[in-house]
């Protein structure tokens, strides 16, 4: 069954290597067995090697295999790319970072010999839990992966047959399993936050439940109390049924850190037989809680979409919020241009009765600034993408992200300037900020606050000296924080210059020896380093210190963009309201609803900083070539 997406089993482990939840789907497993049987019957080549495929492990077998892999691969996720410690047959031998997310386990089963590879297991680390989901693939895919990770050559070339890429392209079930594990991850950590929609009057508007329950106090799914049954003979009028209560898992409820029941009922509804049908937990939980009554009538002429099990009733309105996050790398150097990018999204909440279509023109989309446009599945995107520059959608209930985009800044960076830090001695640094805020920003744009932080993760800050031209300064153990604009005193319609010269003093430098250097550690023999040319090095304290400090830097996970600790920088955080920086805009007057209905439209914008970094102009900095799209 290629093209569809089923899951054989799900396991959730906690950080003590104990399985706290597991669920197996016998129907999918049956399909796997049938597929294996026919594969074994049909395969001529390698019949010897692949006659048996592992059946699902028990909890204890899985844990053992998981622990063994972690030992072999250095960490829960593994090396990801081939390093000297990688062994043939392990995931990192494949030399692809995605093997940190799609892993294989070798089950320790004597009777099955070498064919004990369990792949692909989707690994999601969420909080203290590891979620493992095993999607159904065809036996030939498993074989292909086994070949990939056992080939003895120097590593696959790109663009040749039988690469991991073509496997992944062939297997939507892996993508589906990622979606499933993300949904489950959100549930077990309680991260079920709906996209934020801001209204000018109230700070934010709640989620789907609000639209169902009105505003009777249930604010969001995450804070919802468990459906613990009412005490004996309370609310149920039918006295016959009041003999007992459904106290779920009574004896252990208190000690369990994981809401197994919520999880179980989510899985039952979203993927009853292991094939996901709907992963929207807000829909599933509201159906669980509210159920349906005979009075919930379906629309007369249309089919009600599965993603909208309830129809809205009440006062109608439309809310839009544009959220933008600004990432910037400010270098203030001739050879490296500053880079700034905005990732934005339009959140929406449509409180409209029936099943109407909403459409509005995308103002700002016609510029070259917007790079990416992706839409909610409810948006009707024509075959060739959006060429009419208007978007039409049939809104679901509750808050949802209508559209996402990447853009470059239309106005210019909100904070411009430079940061210089120079070490005058081993324990003392002199720094200088010269910043210009909101240059060229016109009236509706308001900077709500702005803070600059200088982190020193590897040094302990003892004291600082110096006064900024504006704002206040405070220090923590490992950082200096400069609040330029305090929240509550927003900056509107004018530009401000802020300078801050000063010195910072650190506790004496201590060499931090790493317990183990992961990839290439221990090879170097540095015994003779600073004797012959040591005197030259001492000329420049800065360089000397740099060298010293970079020697014992830890290696970062592949999920990080670079080794943050290797650089000195200042990070800016701010919030701007009033308009989007990309120029994205929704004109409330041009929003139309079909069938026509009178509904007020509210529109707001929020811009916040993401990684907004001022690199030390006098130090090293990471950079990248500019992509030309």
């Amino acid at each position: 069954m290629p093209g569809n997406c089923s899951i054989r089993a799900i396991w959730i482990l906690n950080n003590l290597d104990t399985i706290v939840f597991s669920r197996k789907f016998p129907v999918v497993e049956k399909r796997w067995r049938v597929a294996c049987k026919s594969e074994n019957e049909n395969s001529v080549e390698g019949g010897l090697n692949y006659t048996v495929f592992p059946s699902l492990p028990t909890d204890s077998e899985l844990v053992a295999a998981f622990v063994e892999r972690r030992k072999r691969e250095g960490s829960i996720r593994g090396f990801g790319i081939r390093v000297t410690q990688s062994t043939e047959g392990s995931d990192s031998w494949v030399d692809d970072p995605i093997t940190r997310h799609i892993i294989g386990l070798y089950l320790n089963k004597e009777e099955e010999g070498d064919n004990n590879l369990l792949w692909p297991l989707i690994l999601l680390v969420k909080g203290q839990y590891c979620i493992l989901a095993l999607p159904l693939v065809e036996p030939r895919h498993l074989k292909a992966y086994a070949r990939l990770c056992k080939r003895s050559d120097c590593g696959n070339a790109i663009g040749v047959d039988e690469s991991l890429s073509s496997l992944l392209l062939d297997l939507p079930s892996i993508t589906g399993a990622f979606m499933v594990s993300q949904a489950i991850g959100d549930i077990i950590t309680g991260d079920m936050v709906e996209p934020e929609v801001v209204v000018s009057a109230a700070p934010s508007v709640g989620g789907l439940l609000d639209s169902l329950t009105g505003s009777i106090g249930i604010s969001g799914i995450s804070s919802r109390a468990k459906p613990v049954a009412a005490p004996v003979a309370s609310s149920t009028p039918s006295g016959t049924a009041a003999a007992g209560t459904v106290t779920l898992d009574a004896p252990k409820t208190g000690t369990r850190p994981l809401d197994r029941d919520a999880l179980r009922s989510f899985i039952t509804s979203s993927m009853p037989f292991g094939t996901p049908l709907d992963l929207s937990y807000s829909n599933i939980f509201s159906m669980k809680i509210n159920g349906f009554s005979a009075s919930d009538l379906p629309p007369t002429d249309l089919k009600q979409p599965a993603w909208k099990p309830y129809l809205y009733k009440g006062k109608q309105r439309l809310l839009f919020t544009i959220h933008e996050i600004v990432h910037a790398a400010m270098y203030d150097r001739d050879e490296i241009p500053d880079s700034m990018s905005i990732s934005g999204q339009i959140n929406c909440r449509a409180e409209l009765e029936g099943l109407p279509d909403v459409s509005f023109p995308l103002t700002g989309f016609n510029t070259d600034r917007v790079e990416v446009l992706s839409f909610h599945p409810c948006a009707q995107v024509p075959e060739h993408g959006l060429d009419k520059q208007s978007v039409m959608f049939s809104p679901p209930l509750g808050n949802f992200v209508l559209m996402r985009y990447q853009a470059i800044c239309g106005i210019g960076p909100p904070i411009k300037g430079f940061y210089q830090l120079s070490m005058v001695s081993i324990d003392k640094g002199a720094f200088l900020f010269k910043l210009r805020l909101m240059e060229g920003y016109k009236s509706p744009l308001t900077m709500e606050f702005c803070t600059v932080t200088m982190p020193f993760p590897r040094r302990r800050v003892v004291s600082f000296d110096g006064t900024p031209s504006i704002g206040t300064v405070s220090i923590t153990e490992h950082s200096v924080e400069w609040k330029i604009i305090l929240s509550g005193r927003g900056l509107t319609g004018k530009s401000v210059e802020a300078t801050f010269p000063g010195t910072v003093r650190f506790a004496p430098w201590k060499i931090q020896r790493l317990p183990s250097n992961s990839a290439f550690g221990g090879i170097l023999d540095e015994d003779s380093d600073n004797e012959s040319d040591g005197s030259n090095n001492m000329v420049n304290i800065e360089e000397f210190l740099m060298d010293k400090m970079s020697k014992d830097l830890p290696s970062v996970d592949l999920e990080e963009p670079f080794c943050w600790q290797a650089y000195s920088y200042a990070k800016v955080s701010f919030k701007i309201a009033g308009a989007s920086l990309s120029g994205m805009l929704i004109d409330p007057k041009s929003v139309s609803v079909y069938p026509a209905v009178k509904a007020p439209v509210d529109f707001s914008t929020q811009v916040a900083s993401g990684e907004y970094i001022l690199w030390n102009t006098l130090g090293r900095c990471p950079s990248a070539a500019v992509a030309i799209v």
Binding site: F25, D95, L169, P172, T236, S293, A624
Partner: protein
């Protein structure tokens, strides 16, 4: 979750409490021992199922949902018995379906019967029914039938208000059943369609999916059924005949598809995709796509309707479009650029989880492969789209790595497809590479273990091997890669990087190792090393930091495609530098650096022809031995120099290859790394060593007379605490005082014999002079016998020879290279430093191992006979003795028997082949016979040479006397050498008649027993023997001349004993003996000493046609072997 034992399961007949259920479920999930605890008693399964089902129907049972799920997940264990028709299985299924029926019919009260329970029951029971089906049995279909009927009643109420979710679930159950039994619902497709049209609640998705799957199966199975026909009633449901009967009965329905109706159904289905959730859309399209193909639908229709999904931010919808592309390549023709652009943009969407951004890039790469395979020309729009997409600063490293992969792929495409003119091309590729690398350029100064370094070198690898896949067999690409600009750029860059930051040298070594370890790309690694040799060596700065480049120098030295000149020059300069800079505070440094240089020299010696190295290396070494400040380095250099000059190249390499550590090179941090590289070669191979005894032989020089060997096994033969009685004669002399003295003094204390005789417990008795004379002789004799318990005992030496066959040896241990040398002997394999170790279960003491420095293999005989290489040297060998000494090594096995007994000696060989392989193995055991124990008696040192025959003769008569049955010496004890132990004699006698002519007897004696003959008596015999001149230096006697040893008188004397009465029975024997003696030729007296302190005496009375051997010994067990021995000796 530990394996700690839980309380025993409750006895089966007691109902399980909710707590018991929880424990049971946990144990089942955990598996292993904890599950076995339950499953070991198979009989309890029906009980568990029974209990579970009745608990489900109880009003107040709290664990209903978990219990259903438990039944579902373990249905195979609990319900699936081996025999599907057996009673419990049937019963359980029946009860299961009845339970659903009850649950479905009980009104919902929101507490005990909830929607959740209903839904879960439907799902789980469906799941159980499907997964329990082992084969399509009629019986099983009955359950399916009743389940379907139940579910159909649920879904047959479209638009009904409150149970819409239950209807949706029931639809899903039916869909799973339809999936498991294709065409199960085909007869009622018409009903399903109308239900599907009617349903308008959110459950319509499930109706649509159900109907789609029915249509899908009808088309897939090519069923001729009407999907409009509603004549068959929905309920009662009857399973279609095709599913029940055998396969050919179903064929009648497959007359052909009803295209018109099916197209109508399809058109209906395509009206409603917007009501589906993304997950359902994936399901839906997976079914629709094959339908569209089968029904000849315009694929462009699908494209128009579904291609827009690629703009969704839901990854599953994007993926579905890609799947569609691969299905309908033609319809999607021309969209390649758009798809590529879209995928790139997805990868740049920072709102996505990282894994989806990674997936998008993987899809793109996989998509490119797909397009390439189909039509390389279509790559152009893709490549143009992807060409300048560089990773951005804040992209996670994982994404950067994949993005760089994409760039590498593009650069390959550009270079292969020759888009644009060549020169610009190359420039562009280099630019791509350099620009892409900016994002991880920090690898140049970050520590070597940083992730940036790993990513950067991974990218180098990708760019370097380019399009040359491992399955590729086209050598032209090899050439083109070598010549490509990117390759040259990369090489140059790697050199620069190394010059700039010597920290990266180990990483570079690992990088080249990765290429060198790959069969396909070994040449790339070699090329890199060549580049380093050409460019790096010239540019490195002389100084102490040069040492950090040594790992890469070592790799260069290992590679024999690189002329060692440059490296040797550099090392020479470095040595000069070291000598120049040497001062009081650089002692250790000079030593360490010097030894590292020598380690590289050694690597060179190991991998290059000496002629290539000779000039420069000898200069370098000579300089080092003359001027280097450190003594040890000078010494080592001298050794290398000597070896370089004296040992021929091949042998030298073998020697170096083999004994790295033995050569006394101080293991430096570098050398240890390449020691480990070579260890696999010299590791010993157990498998190969297994059959070693079939071609390596250790053989006795003199074969044993008694071929089949056996040895008398007596309990506790050892000299342990409980000594057997025949050994009792040897014991420590009692006086404690004396012993203490001996212990305390380091010098050997000599105790006067007289003193010893006067020991307190020494029995006092009257002795006649003859007896005292005998005693004197014996005392003297025994005092010469070493006491093996306190000193080295007497040794028995067995000569053997070791040889091995060349041909089978080469087959197993050879390195596969055909030997083409002109010199036959040089081509033969050899064993080096062979050590033979011996062990035996017989009491032979510890047997010293034997060492053979060198042994050449025997040339195979076939080869010589076939005449292929009849060298002049071989021919005479053939004619002469086969046993050429060159191919045999003499081996002496030295035993120190604690008891004269035959036995086996096991042989273990440990040796080395020429190429350094270690052979361990066991050879065939050597048999030790009783004759190996035969030694000449020890002659006291004060006996003169010419008095020896006399001494032996005296000794013989004394022992003969002492071993007699009734002898006065029986209670005497005799101290052994060293005086610590004393021995007593307890004699035994035996007789053997040999039917053999006198002549052959004499021959045999001359051949085998000559050394042990002490006397020949009787004139005829003396004349017979004396002429042979083999038996010499003994006492020759006429019968008359010596009365005391007169044969007849001796016989009578000994038979009777001095104080014995003559039995009448004895007379006959004596007379017959006498009659033989009448034709007597004479008599041999043979004295054999058996280590450690025993004796074997023969008196052979030789007649013309037979010989009577009288045997006396003080070690009776040996008689067991003597019989066989004598027979083999004389009668064989």
């Amino acid at each position: 979750m530990t394996d700690k034992p839980h309380p025993q399961p409750p006895p089966p007949l007691k109902p399980l409490s909710p707590q018991d259920w929880e424990l049971l479920i946990d144990d089942f999930q955990y598996g292993g021992v904890r599950r076995q605890k339950w499953t070991s008693a198979l009989a309890i399964f029906p009980f568990i199922v029974d209990q579970a089902l009745s608990s489900l129907l109880k009003r107040d049972f709290p664990l209903k949902l978990s219990l259903i799920l438990f039944l579902e997940e373990f249905s195979n264990t609990l319900l699936g018995s081996a025999d599907p028709d057996c009673q419990p299985h049937e019963n359980s299924l029946h009860r299961l379906i009845e339970t659903v029926r009850v649950v479905l019919q009980t009104p919902i009260d929101g507490v005990h019967v909830t929607f959740a329970l209903r839904e879960q029951m439907m799902v789980s029971v469906t799941s159980i029914v499907i997964s329990l089906d082992t084969g399509l049995g009629q019986v099983h279909m009955r359950w399916v039938e009743s389940l379907v009927e139940l579910l159909l009643t649920v879904i047959n109420r479209p638009n009904y208000g409150s149970d819409r979710q239950a209807r949706a679930v029931a639809c899903e159950c039916l869909r799973e059943l339809e999936l498991a039994y294709p065409c199960l619902l085909s007869d009622i497709a018409g009903h399903l369609w109308s239900l599907c049209q009617n349903e308008r609640t959110h459950a319509s998705q499930s109706y649509i999916l159900l109907f789609t799957s029915v249509i899908h199966n009808i088309v897939a199975q090519k069923m001729n059924v009407s999907v409009l026909n509603t004549s068959v009633p929905l309920v009662p449901f009857i399973v279609p005949q095709i599913l029940l009967g055998d396969s050919n009965s179903g064929k009648e329905g497959s007359g052909g598809l009803n295209y018109k109706e099916l197209r109508r159904a399809m058109a209906f289905l395509l009206e409603w995709p917007q009501v589906l959730t993304p997950c359902a859309m994936v399901e839906f399209l997976a079914m629709i796509m094959p339908l569209a193909v089968a029904l000849d639908l315009q694929a462009s229709m699908l494209k128009v309707q579904f291609f827009g999904m690629i703009y969704s931010y839901d990854p599953m919808l994007c993926h579905v479009v890609l799947t569609m592309y691969s299905k309908f390549l033609d319809a999607f023709d021309g969209q390649e650029g758009e798809i590529a652009r879209r995928l790139i943009l997805v990868s740049r969407e920072t709102q996505h989880f990282l894994v989806f951004r990674l997936l998008a890039l993987h899809w793109l790469l996989g998509f490119c492969e797909l397009v390439l395979r189909r039509d390389a020309g279509k790559m152009k729009p893709i490549v143009e789209t992807c060409l300048h997409i560089y990773p951005s600063v804040f992209d996670p490293l994982a994404l950067k790595a994949l993005n760089l992969d994409l760039l590498a792929f593009c650069s390959i495409c550009v270079s292969e497809s020759r888009l644009g003119e060549d020169a610009g091309n190359a420039k562009e590729m280099v630019m791509l590479f350099k620009d892409g690398l900016v994002s991880v350029s920090a690898f140049k100064w970050l520590p070597v273990w940083s992730s940036e370094t790993a990513v950067a070198f991974r990218t180098f690898h990708r760019f370097l091997i380019g399009a040359s896949s491992h399955s590729d067999f086209d050598p032209s690409t090899t050439r083109s890669i070598m010549d490509s600009t990117i390759f040259r750029t990369l090489q140059g860059m790697l050199v620069d990087v190394m010059l700039e930051c010597h920290r990266l040298v180990p990483v570079m070594v690992a990088f080249t190792d990765r290429l060198l370890g790959c069969q396909k790309h070994i040449w790339l690694g070699e090329r890199l090393l060549q580049t380093f040799d050409e460019h790096l060596l010239l540019k490195v700065k002389m100084g102490y930091k040069l040492v950090s480049y040594f790992p890469i120098f070592d790799r260069i030295a290992e590679n024999d495609t690189i002329p060692p000149r440059g490296l040797l020059e550099l090392l020479g300069k470095f040595m000069v530098f070291l000598v120049d800079k040497h001062g009081p505070d650089t002692g250790l440094k000079s030593w360490s650096h010097g030894s590292k240089v020598l380690a590289i020299c050694r690597t060179l010696l190991m991998h290059h022809n000496s002629s290539r190295l000779f000039l420069r290396l000898s200069q370098l070494l000579a300089y080092t031995c003359l001027y280097f400040p450190d003594l040890e380095i000078r010494d080592n250099a001298r050794i290398y120099l000597r070896m370089l000059i004296c040992v021929p190249g091949k042998k030298l390499r073998d020697i170096l290859n083999h004994g790295e550590q033995l050569l006394g090179i101080l293991p430096s941090s570098h050398s240890s790394s390449f020691f480990s590289v070579q260890s696999p070669r010299s590791s010993h191979n157990v498998k190969k060593s297994r059959n070693i005894s079939s071609y390596v032989y250790l053989e006795r020089v003199i074969p044993l007379l008694v071929k089949q060997s056996w040895s008398l096994s007596l309990p506790s033969l050892g000299v342990g605490s409980n000594k057997p009685d025949y050994l009792e004669g040897i014991r420590d002399s009692e006086p404690v005082v004396e012993e203490r003295e001996i212990d305390s003094s380091s010098t050997i204390q000599i105790i006067p014999e007289t003193a010893r005789i006067d020991q307190p417990h020494e029995p006092l008795r009257v002795m006649d002079s003859k007896i005292s004379e005998i005693l004197g002789t014996l005392r003297r004799h025994f005092s010469c016998i070493p006491d093996f318990r306190h000193m080295t005992g007497l040794k028995v030496r067995i000569s053997c020879s070791l040889r091995f066959e060349s041909e089978p040896f080469n087959r197993i241990w050879g390195d596969g290279t055909p030997v083409s040398g002109l010199d036959e002997v040089d081509a033969l394999p050899a064993l080096y430093a062979t050590v033979l170790k011996f062990s035996s279960s017989a009491p032979y003491g510890s047997i010293p191992s034997y060492h053979i420095p060198f042994l050449l293999g025997e040339p195979s005989r076939n080869k010589d006979i076939s005449g292929q290489q009849v060298s002049l040297e071989i021919v005479p060998l053939e004619n002469g003795s086969e046993e050429d000494d060159r191919f045999r090594a003499p081996v002496i096995i030295e035993l120190e028997p604690h008891e004269p007994t035959p036995g086996m000696v096991h042989i273990f060989i440990e040796t080395n082949t020429e190429n350094g392989q270690i052979i361990h193995g066991q050879l065939r055991s050597i048999t030790v016979g009783i004759e190996d124990m035969f030694l000449k008696a020890i002659v006291p040192s004060d006996i003169e040479e010419d008095a020896i025959p006399e001494y032996y003769s005296d000794l013989f008569s004394a022992l003969w006397e002492a071993c007699g049955t009734s002898c006065n010496t029986g209670r005497e004890t005799f101290p052994l050498e060293g005086g610590k132990g004393i021995a007593a004699i307890s004699g035994t006698q035996s007789v053997k008649l040999l039917e053999i002519t006198a002549l052959s007897l004499v021959r045999a004696i001359e051949r085998y027993l000559a050394p042990f003959v002490v006397s020949v008596i009787g004139e005829p015999l003396v004349t017979l023997v004396k002429d042979g001149e083999i038996i010499r230096d003994i006492i020759w006697k006429d019968v008359a001349s010596d009365s005391s040893l007169d044969v007849t008188s001796t016989v009578t004397n000994f038979d009777r004993g001095p104080l014995q009465l003559t039995y009448t029975g004895d007379v006959g024997e004596r007379e017959s003996l006498a009659s033989i003696s009448r034709r007597n030729l004479g008599c041999f007296l043979v004295l054999i000493f058996l280590p450690p302190r025993f004796h074997l005496l023969f008196q052979m009375e030789v007649s013309d046609l037979s010989t009577l051997v009288r045997i006396r010994t003080d070690h009776w067990p040996c008689l067991a072997y003597i019989d066989d021995y004598l027979e083999a000796l004389f009668l064989a």
